[in-house]
Amino acid sequence: MKLYFREVSVAVALVVLLGALAIFAPAFYQPQPLLSLLTREMPTLVVACGAALVIITRQIDISVGSMFSVCSVCAGLLAASGWPLVAVLPASVAIGAVMGVFNGALVAGLGLPSIVVTLATMVTLRQSLNLMRQGEFVNLPDGVQWFGLGQFAGQWTIVGAALLVLAALGLGMRHLAVGRFVYAVGSNAEAARLAGVRPRLVTFLVFVLMGALTGLAAMMNIVQSPQVQPLSGAGLELKVIAAVVVGGVAISGGRGNLWGAFAGLLLLACVSPALTHLRIEAYWEKAIQGAIILLAVVADGVRMRKEKS
């Protein structure tokens, strides 16, 4: 209980928010809008899983938003040129993984700070996309939306797939040796090396996985509408980092888990509909999300101080 205090407190905050909504704005609980809200957040969840891994290894990746946009547009173009969906999906994942390889090579291979490397790749990728597409939308052919399953089944497919990714990674981080390696590298890379883990390889693979998951998430996103927006990933990096940090993953590495990140994501995702339903002006959304992030890090700081003394 004490060990998972952070995760539990986020879950409690989420339950309190949902409870407040149940009392003051019962209109929030309509099955179809709720399912739509959940579906909209699922691509973010998949990216947040990757971001959690990256942050647990004591790195950061702020290029995910740009990677997401690039994967979306590429997948959209492939689908529009007549590729079947079963081929577009792995292609999107592969494109994401290639970008992850680039980030991983610079961070793990050359030992450069990930914040600056991914800042540079974020801008380079985003501007390359702008340059090539000039902000054009991609029209998707019929049969791509909701994987051709119809809205209801499509939404459940997306939710199911995202939760599957969450469960697989969450359990893997807990029970597989590779998962423990990630924690080991994030806690103390030198100690991990002496224990026989290869920190640079682990870091590299985490960045590649981050890219691949972004490709998958992009796929989950483009099937939700008949067009691909070239700017769909703008600001995604902050959203996922906020979710992960609020969910109790320590930015200093080695601590936290995916369940907490999931709770953090849901908490932040509920802010915007909660504002609408509680009739607070929506302009406050960004400020409130910033305040939640600061609150979460302050809670971490206070707790660390207490533990030390």
């Binding site: 950061i60 610079l106 050359l110 030992g111 450069l112 700070p113 914040i115 600056v116 490397v117 800042l119 540079a120 790749t121 974020m122 801008v123 380079t124 985003r126 501007q127 390359s128 702008n130 340059l131 000039q134 890379a189 090396r193 920190p199 640079r200 902050l238 980092i241 906020a242 940090v245 930015i251 200093s252 002006e281 302009y283 406050w284 959304e285 960004k286 400020a287 409130i288 999300q289 910033g290 305040a291 992030i293 600061l294 890090v297 302050v298 971490d300 700081g301 206070v302 660390m304 101080r305």
Partner: protein
Amino acid sequence: MNSGESRRPGWKSLLLRYETLLFVVLVAEWLLFYHFGTTTNRRGIVVGFGTMDRQFDILRHSCEIGLLALALTPVIITAGIDLSVASLLGLCAILFGKFHFDAGMPIPIAIALTLACGCTGGALNAALITTLRLPPLIVTLGTYSLFRGLAEAITHGAVTYTGFPSSFLALGQGRLLGLPVQAWVFLGIAAGVWLLVHRTVHGRSYRAIGFSPEGARFAGIPVGRRLATAYVLAGLIVAAAAIIYTARLGQAKADAGMGYELFAITAVVLGGTSIFGGTGSIAGTLLGVAAIAVLKNGLATLPVVIRMNAAEEMSGLMTGALLLVALTGSIVPGLLSKLRARRQPASPTPVQDPA
């Protein structure tokens, strides 16, 4: 540094300095744009990069990003980072407009209050980073959202403050002694920060902290207080940048300076300040700012880019690429010294994994 280095001052060490290299690159860049970006139009008037107007434009545009870079340099020297500078710029611009129009304050008082607000924003970062020992990256990521969010909340994302008196707009659009007015402000602040970082004990301690906070503490440096001043100073300079930005454009909007943090960080890193802290110079930052400003403006004058109508995208792309090159270049000295150490096998240690 070691004594071997200090024994050979003079032209050789000056030539080998990173800043000199950057200066050469800057001059080469400028000449390149001068050659390819200057054309003569049908009436025989020179247009494009080579004109005096364009040079003043470069100077005007580089003032705001330059101020943010100046704000960031001490912070990065202490091995910290401040991602919130551009958001704080937006918030300060909005507050300035609000003070002047909604509260009806005269310009000087509004400026003073805006500067105070900038300090407060910096102080919030400083308090979270120093008293709670939180990582600067995540604190300033939080305030990055918070400041921009407050600016949007105050203006409801729609209000734009315009109609400032022309005496104020002269600050951003006029000239004084041949140079744009804000260039004088910029040079003044740059001189101040240079004095602080390079010529005072206080500024010296930033490097000690960036190199090793624990070591600095043992040397008797009040690490927390020094760090706090770096962030508060950053807030103050950002507020000044916000006022200049408002004066140049004649309007204050919630999205003022969005994305500027990237250009500022790029300028600082390009200028040779290590993102790991401990080393850096104001001269390097100024050269980095100039390199980026020339690139940004120069690209917009190239016929190819004009034909493609892609000045914004190209400058972002090139800045990102430049940052990657500068970063990759920054590990070369470390690699060289490692190689040198390997060439003299003093002790029979086995070849190590370079991790």
